[in-house]
């Protein structure tokens, strides 16, 4: 499992899920962010999945008291 594809390379939907997961554990590199953005521009399913993950993480933050008051 890796999201460290070569710079400039297009990524797959599965690879975007690796990057989404990694984004919870630390800042993404510029290259990861760029590849992700480029992919999302052309992939409707990943835009939806990305929104779903964001909503899930937001609910986790509430449930586990990770949100500042």
């Amino acid at each position: 499992m890796t999201s460290d594809t070569a710079p400039g390379n297009a990524i797959t939907c599965r690879e975007t899920t690796y990057i989404v997961s990694e984004s919870r554990d630390g800042p993404l590199t510029d290259a990861q962010r760029e590849r992700m953005t480029t992919h999302l521009e052309t992939c409707a399913a990943c835009r939806i999945a990305s929104t779903q993950f964001a909503q899930l993480f937001d609910q986790l933050d509430t449930l586990l008291a990770r949100k500042p008051d």
Binding site: M1, T2, T12, C13, R14, E15, T17, Y18, V20, S21, E22, R24, D25, G26, C43, A45, C46, I48, A49, T51, Q52, F53, Q55, L56, Q59, L60, T62, L63, L64, A65, R66, K67, D69
Partner: protein, 197 residues
Amino acid sequence: MLSTSNSANADALWQTLAAERPFLLRLARLQLGSQADAEDAVQETLLGAAKGWHGFEGRSMLRSWLTGILRNKIIDAIRGRRFTAALPDQAAGDDDGRAEFDALFTADDAWHPAVFIDTVCGATKAAERQLLDIVELCMDRLPRESSRLFLMREYLGMELAEIEEHSTVSAGNLRVILYRARMRLRECAVRGWGELE
């Protein structure tokens, strides 16, 4: 001593706090392993909350407030140990985390249109409690050791290096375990959101 004006109020306050006890106990037991240690941590949390009740401003939900108090007690306990023994289901598996989710993707690793669930969470604030129940239910379905490591990251906020230090999992396996947990949670949550519609 509870800082309420009479014993009836004190009883009501204690009942309110104790209603959150099962959730707190599940979190504590998962992280601390020992039932006795978990009971102690939760009891200290509830007593501390009763004492500091006037500090609860109601901006967050009661459960969130208590969960935050408990977090510090668990972190202190974990940091006082060298490492926590791994449980049998710890192994991330021999693959790199790909195989479990193969059915979600096509041969080209695009989302498979036949199984992709496109439900997004459009619920209103009124349904917040239901949404949190869905997440809680989905977390309960994670394998125990995955859940413990996942919550060390997501609940306790420990960095990956510190989790590795306090467990026997390798860096690579930890990343796979976290990835799997998040993917499983998404699959479970989006199905739950669909039920709400």
